[in-house]
């Protein structure tokens, strides 16, 4: 009856680009969420369906609460693909504000220029 996060480790590292422990962990969570989404949705449906007997709904609630935290979609956090930073990551470019500035200044982001108006 272990709840080890190591269950979600892939056999081989399926990541490229900037990699550190926290990036790998986030990736594991993403894969776990994707894999267990149908189960979560089935249980959620059972819990909310008032036409089902109470015992079924209670059992579904228990099972949902017993699922591993990694299968929860709220566990996923966007991280910078260039530095692994979590804060101030732009959705448009998937990079951190500082990486954005560096790459924009060196012309790696198409169309992004210094603005003055």
């Amino acid at each position: 009856m272990s709840k080890a996060a190591s269950l979600f480790h892939p056999k081989r590292l399926n990541l490229s680009g900037f990699v550190n422990t926290r990036v790998i962990r986030d990736n594991n969570k993403r894969m776990a969420v994707e894999q267990h989404e149908p189960e979560r949705q089935a249980l959620r449906y059972m819990i909310r369906n008032t036409s089902l007997p109470g015992r079924v709904r209670a059992q579904a609630q228990l099972q949902l609460s017993q699922m591993h935290s990694y299968t929860r979609p709220t566990q996923v956090k966007n991280r910078c693909v260039a530095s692994g930073h979590v804060r101030s990551v732009f959705r448009d470019f998937r990079i951190n504000r500082f990486q954005f500035r560096m790459q924009a200044l060196s012309g790696h982001l198409p169309g992004v220029k210094k603005a003055s108006w």
């Binding site: 099972q63 500035r101 220029k113 603005a115």
Partner: protein
């Protein structure tokens, strides 16, 4: 790119002479040249003669003028092509190309219409840590052009889009909305085409179905207790 806006072929000829600034070394046409000279003349000579007694092919001349257009008979929009780019030159050039290609496919076209620019701005601190007082602004301006095809044949429109995709220009994105029109008794024609569609879909639909043991009698308890869920419980 096409700064030359002259319409008549005569004007284009004049400008061509200006464009090709090669001295006309050709001898007087009244004196026939000796037969020992090669039949095909040098490039400089041939280009020099362009303004005088020869001309470029019409299709090449057309490049120096405004794009030719077909006239729309009914004005029914059939296809909206939106071009997007971060560079003015690219999007202008490709819009012009699209209009010219439409002419040769016999498609009436309107545009290119300049749509509003999309301006995205970001303000970021210059430093990687604190120092919020010193920031920097960045922007990305997306330029858009709309090219609309009017009452064209759907197959010709497809060919036009395929041609544009084949010759896609760097840094220019394309997005097309296509409308197809049918006669009023569209239901009848759809009914007629149904058996053929069913035949082609048969192999796909055969893969859908319900298990025979999947009945309402089966209780939710069983579902919750079955192997798949039970396996997960130990996780």
């Amino acid at each position: 790119m096409f700064a030359n806006k002259t319409r008549s072929l005569l004007g284009a000829g004049k400008n061509l002479r200006k464009l090709i600034a090669i001295p006309n070394s050709r001898s007087d046409p009244t004196n026939p040249e000796p037969s020992s000279e090669p039949r095909v003349k040098e490039w400089a000579e041939r280009l020099g003669a362009l303004g005088k007694d020869t001309r470029l092919p019409r299709s090449v001349q057309a490049i120096y003028m405004r794009p030719l257009r077909r006239k729309a008979e009914y004005g029914l929009p059939v296809c909206d092509l939106q071009l997007r780019s971060y560079t003015v030159e690219n999007v202008e050039f490709f819009a012009d190309f699209a209009v010219r290609a439409a002419y040769y496919l016999n498609l009436p076209v309107s545009g290119p219409v300049p749509l509003p620019r999309i301006v995205e701005r970001w303000t970021v601190p210059r430093s990687n840590f604190v120092h919020k007082k010193s920031q920097e602004n960045f922007e990305r301006i997306t330029l858009r052009r709309l090219v609309q095809i009017k009452d064209g044949n759907p197959k010709a429109v497809q060919a036009w889009l395929a041609f544009l995709r084949k010759h896609a220009f760097y840094g220019v994105g394309m997005k097309a909305n296509i409308w197809e029109h049918d006669s009023l008794d569209v239901g009848k024609s759809m009914d007629e085409s149904l058996p053929e569609i069913e035949k082609t879909l048969g192999s796909h639909l055969a893969q859908f179905g319900q298990r025979k043991d999947n009945s309402i009698e089966q209780k939710m308890f069983d579902t919750l207790d079955n192997d798949r869920f039970a396996e997960r419980k130990n996780l």
